[in-house]
Each structure stands twice: as structure tokens, then as C-alpha cells.
């Protein structure tokens, strides 16, 4: 049997394991429900305001998709990844799996790909729901040819917190602890990023600007919206402010360049930052699995 076949077997196993958990299913339903609620509220309370002009309505699918991608999808990523490795140690099933003819790298790859592909499926669901709801509430939508790219960008951007939670899951071998630490880092990172942006705005010190971009949430939050800005021309500044990095217009004014130049630059930085974090987190998890003993049942 080839290595790819063995990895595929673990991917299938991981899907069954994750979907057997009621908490994951509940969060998926909640994410879709919150997404529906947000778009309903927008359609009800912004009608006739400066925000919801006729020219903005065809772009509301972007908001619908990105709102779904926000907190709930990150939370689902953390929950799926946080238990992927650790639950096998906690329940003592790691012994059963790793005493079979499979290398640890194959096992780790199968676990990672299984969890991440499940997350991608959830993201596909929230993307489709976002587009359908936007069409429902706001009429025909523009730029729908970019939906697959938007979906891939969202999948890519969730790599950071998925990998972070996955790393803690293997390193700590305790699901709850892994999820709590990853969640705390998501919240802390979000706050620190905002704080650094504010410090940059008030002091104009570039150190804060670069630090704010180095924080995991920046790449994770802004990569999909930066890509949309790169691909499409969105006619409303008010709308853009809802989904975009607030430092871009400030920086553009300061440097005297167009926002498009800075969007492209930020997009590249965001892509690199997501990749760097994801690679580091995966390598730490792999090192832990390859170099240490398989712990016996811990729960």
C-alpha cells in the first residue's frame, strides 16, 4: 500500500471522528445562523443609509462571505484542530493507530489533511450560504466569478489558527488546553493588532506598523479582503472600511501613493505571513510527534 493510500485512510478516519462530535456540528450550524442573522440585519437596518447605496448592493456577497469567515470559522478551525491529535492520546486510541503499518509523518499528514479538508468544506458551505443570502436580500450580485478565489483565500487564511491549534494539540496532548490557548492567542492577537495599529496612527512610528502586520490575526483577517480589492473595483469607501485594513488609506495618504499599490504590497505580505506561521506551527507539531514517545491514555 502506498504512502498516499495510507494518508487517505487516516483522512477518512479523521472526518468520521470530527463529524461524530456534536460540538463541531453545532458550531457549523451556529456559523451559518449568525451569517444569516448579520445579512438580515444589514438588509433591514441599513436600507436607505449611506452604507447601503444601490451601487454597493451588488457587492454585498463579499460582506456575506467575509462575515462568515470571521470569528466562527476561526473558532471551528481551532476546535477541529485542537482535538485532532490530542484526543487520540486522551482516549488511548493513538496506541491502536500508531501500532499499525504507518509512519508518523503519514499519520500526521492524514490527521492534518483530514481536519483541514473538513474545515475547507465548512468554509465552502459558509461561502455558498453568504452568496445565496446576499442575492436573496440585495438582488443580483457582481463579480461572482471570483467566488472560488475568495473561497480559496478564506481557506488559506484560516491556516494560521488551524495550524496553531493543531500544534498545541500535539505539543500539549490535551484538547481543552490546546483549544483554550489557541483561542486566547486569537483574541490576544486581535487586540494587540488593533493596539499596534492605533499606536502607529498616533505616533507615526513605523515599528508599530510592521509589528501590527506581523501579528497572526492581521494576515488571517485581511488576506481574503485584500485579494478581493486586488481583483475588483468596489465603489464605496464606507463599505470598504468595513472589510479592509484601516491603515491602508492612512498609509496611502502619508506616502502619497494610490491605495492599489499598498493593497498589492499588503496582499503579498499577508500571503507570506500566513505561510510562515503555518509552516512553523506544523514543523513544531511534527518535531514533537517524531521525537517523543506516544503517550498512554491521559484522560
Amino acid at each position: 500500500m502506498s504512502a498516499i493510500r495510507r494518508i487517505t485512510v487516516i483522512v477518512g478516519y479523521e472526518w468520521r471522528r470530527a463529524l461524530a462530535k456534536k460540538s463541531v456540528l453545532a458550531l457549523i450550524i451556529l456559523a451559518v445562523a449568525v451569517q444569516t442573522l448579520i445579512l438580515t440585519l444589514y438588509s433591514q437596518f441599513t436600507a436607505g443609509t449611506m452604507f447601503l447605496t444601490e451601487e454597493v448592493k451588488p457587492f454585498m456577497w463579499i460582506l456575506g462571505v467575509l462575515q462568515g469567515q470571521g470569528l466562527f470559522v476561526q473558532l471551528i478551525a481551532i476546535i477541529i484542530a485542537g482535538s485532532t491529535m490530542s484526543e487520540e492520546y486522551e482516549q488511548g486510541t493513538a496506541d491502536i493507530l500508531l501500532s499499525k503499518p504507518i509512519t508518523r509523518v503519514e499519520y500526521l499528514s492524514g490527521k492534518f489533511l483530514g481536519g483541514f479538508s473538513l474545515l475547507a468544506l465548512v468554509e465552502a458551505l459558509t461561502t455558498v450560504v453568504g452568496v445565496i443570502l446576499a442575492s436573496w436580500f440585495f438582488g443580483p450580485q457582481n463579480g461572482l466569478q471570483y467566488v472560488p478565489l475568495m473561497f480559496l483565500a478564506i481557506v488559506y487564511s484560516t491556516l494560521i489558527f488551524f495550524c496553531l491549534s493543531f500544534m498545541f494539540s500535539e505539543a500539549l496532548r490535551r484538547s481543552t488546553l490546546a483549544m483554550l490557548i489557541a483561542l486566547a492567542m486569537l483574541i490576544a492577537s486581535s487586540i494587540i493588532s488593533q493596539l499596534l495599529a492605533w499606536l502607529y496612527i498616533t505616533t507615526s512610528e513605523y515599528l508599530y506598523f510592521y509589528l501590527s502586520r506581523g501579528i497572526p490575526t492581521w494576515g488571517s483577517n485581511y488576506f481574503p479582503s485584500l485579494l478581493m480589492r486586488e481583483l475588483m473595483t468596489i465603489p464605496s469607501t464606507t463599505f470598504l472600511n468595513l472589510i479592509n485594513d484601516p491603515l491602508i488609506p492612512i498609509e496611502a495618504a502619508k506616502r502619497g501613493v494610490s491605495e492599489a499599490v499598498l493593497v498589492r504590497e499588503a496582499l503579498q505580505q499577508a500571503a507570506i505571513i500566513v505561510a510562515i506561521y503555518a509552516i512553523i506551527f506544523i514543523l513544531v507539531a511534527a518535531y514533537r510527534l517524531l521525537k517523543s514517545d506516544v503517550t498512554k491514555k491521559t484522560a
Binding site: 495510507r6 477518512g12 478516519y13 486510541t93 501500532s99 508518523r104
Partner: protein, 312 residues
Amino acid sequence: MSSHSVLTVSNLTKYYGKFRALDSVSFTVDKGWVYGYLGPNGAGKTTTIRILLGLLRPDQGEVQVAGINPARDPVNALQFVGYAPELPTLQTFFTGEQLLDFMGKMFGLSPQARKEKIWQLLDLVGLKEWGKKKIGNYSKGMVQRLSVALALVNDPMVLIMDEPTIGMDPEATAHFRSLFTSLSKEGKTIFISSHLLDEVQRICTHVGMINKGKIVFTGPIEQVLEAFTQQWVVEAELERVTETMVSSLKKLDFVDDVRVEGNKLMIALKEKKDFRGEISSEIFKRKGVLLSLNLHKITLEDAYLRALKGGP
């Protein structure tokens, strides 16, 4: 290591922090042997098994399964190994059938082979009626039985079982004992870690005894009984024990000592031979009324306890 060695453990040392769980453990298990691995709790039995499966890394030494180190090449080393852990926890979201199917996939079995094997194995371990039920609904004994079925899914060359009958009722224990015996007759090598000395004595051809991380004996079961036998004892139960009877028995050439315990005489023999005929003749000569006469050689339990104390 002989060319027939299926399991080879060489100079294995393993530390948990500062605690030395295994101290230069070495033994081999050849093809077709049923090897009983004995030792008290915490002696290092499970640690040895987990190193054999590549789950733990030894600090020193090496293990080989069919000549391959499982830590370096688990795919080839574990392909022909079946493992049933002690008090296993199985994936409760699967049914018994689904878990066997998944394990079959892990061994690369074709869908047809899995289909044929699954119900055959469920029947073998007495779980045919439960195959379509979630494992979460199984009792401990049923989980243990399913674990043995899982260990057999790949038709392994070597079966490694850690306390395989723990949690089973006496009927299931007897069933599995005969199953292990028939598997060994098919030529499978079986490595059993067990506390149940009676079980080991009945089905094992060889034993390894471990205490405080050190091997105190390894070899054929007859050899261990021989090695730890100090002397054979004849126990004679009489209606009444007299002084003259004791002194006359003590004078016999083959008698080493005679001890009186109520109406019983414990006659220690100089040689490991059955002298019950001679002893009963002597008792009749002295007008004694014999109620019972038994020869005590040594049980595996006696040998085991002596081995743990440090020698014959």
C-alpha cells in the same frame, strides 16, 4: 539472534525521567513459540511491548520485529503484527464492523477481503450479533474481545497481546485460551503478557520473567519449572501420625526430610522422582491408614515467585 527469530529484544533500557523502567532487557521469540511474558505490576512488561510496536523509543538497545526495527520502518515491521492492548479504548463512534473495516484498510486489505474477514472475525470472538452496534454500547469484556478480533484482521504472523483476557468472563477466557492454542497450532507466533500464571502455564511454550525492569528468566517453560524446582514433596494424609512412622520414613534412602503438619506428612525427596509407591508401602508396613497421597512438583506460580525473590 537465530534465523527464525520473530521478535528480538537486545539490551533494552528505558527511562521515564529518572526511573529506570527497563534495564538491559534481552530475549528472543522464535517462529511458532507461544511466549508468556510475566512480571508484577510496574515490572516493565507494557513498556517492552510498546517499544516492540515502535510507540516508545528506547534509551539504549534495539528491538526487531521480523528482523526490522519498528521505530525506523514501521510500515514493514508492523505489517505482519497483530496487537491487542491491555484494557483497550476503542473508537466509540464506530460500530464493530466499521472499526474492523477501518483496520483492514490500514493494512491495505481489498474491500472483498475485508468483507469476508469482518464477519468471520466477529463470529470468532462471539460478537456477530453486535457487529452493527456502536462500540460505545459494548461492555468492557466485549471491547476486549473486539480488540482481539482487530489484532487478527491482517492474519498476522505474530500476535502481541497485553493481558488479553482481562475483563472477560470465565467462559470467554476459556474460549480465547483455546483460540490462542489453535492459532499457535496454525504456526502463528504469540507473545502474551499476563498475570494469569495458570493461563500461561496451559498455553505457553516459553516464558520470560521480568522484575523491576530486569529479565530474571527466559526460556522454555519446562526449563523454568526445572530451574526453579528445589525438590519434589510427597504429601501423605493419614488417619493418625505416629513417631515410629516418621522415623521409619526418614530412614528411607530417597527421603531428605519429613515434616509433620497435623495429620499430614510432608515428605521432601532427595531426587525429582515419583516415590509414592515406596512411601505408601512403608506406611502400610507401619500399619498406617492412608487417606490421600499427592506428589507436589512445582507450578509456574512457585517458579515465578521464586524467580522474583532472586533465584531457585
